[in-house]
Symmetry: C2
Subunit: 133 residues, 2 copies
Amino acid sequence: VIDRRSYVPAYRQVADALRAQIADGSLPPGRALPSESALEHEHGVARTTIRKAIAELRAEGVVETLPSSGTRVRLIPEREEFSLQRGSRVVIRMPTPAERAEYDIDEGVPVAIVRHGARTHLLIGDRVELIAK
Amino acid sequence: VIDRRSYVPAYRQVADALRAQIADGSLPPGRALPSESALEHEHGVARTTIRKAIAELRAEGVVETLPSSGTRVRLIPEREEFSLQRGSRVVIRMPTPAERAEYDIDEGVPVAIVRHGARTHLLIGDRVELIAK
DNA sequence: TGAAATTTGTACGTATGTATA
DNA sequence: ATATACATACGTACAAATTTC
């Protein structure tokens, strides 16, 4: 239940409640979250507030939203191993909107830029594990 | 100028305009963006729309907002070199809210989790460059 | 020092559009 | 077709911190 007198804003209390449900398994990967209007009534806050809470979880890479369909807990993708040759240099950052569109990268997923000599690779954060060989 | 008939939403057009100014140097690192109300009048949209545009840039790690003060283009921090020993494994992801608070990580900055045997390091994305040794 | 203005943060509500179920 | 569900956009109000005068 939302505590109106708390210094923690309502949207963060909602986000925390959902994050806890995801962490303890009551909202497992793939499971749909309640709809925005359901959460509205459940917590007694405005839809704006619910949307801000969900936006925060998206930015963390915890959930994904399919427009007109709903929000669900993100499935943990298989991580492919990527071998880092000696001398490779890696920078990590958030993708640009252009990169997100081109490689179909979800919100809240960073990228790794791997350089080895003249070669450059863009790796999608949630799909790889880097291994120094 | 915002094109109301475009399929590109207004907030994205504003974000694109600001991103372009940052990219071409007319808004250099450290420079303050116009205030939300200035941008409101400049683009002829509601404050909500401006705030959504700026939120997008924050999530990309392009700008940072100081409450009650303003939003400015993020300074590019010095990247410290981090040596990856052979056999090290690296996963990258967004930090949890707890990690962001503990290590004072800005919005839009990912982390790298480096494991080598039993040791685990959490590296802040915009402050390091990984080098496979 | 202190008051006023500025600036961002939070929250509510309304309306309309569009894609999905 | 109808209902559901998310996306966009506008506007209002007040709070809290910073900055300016």
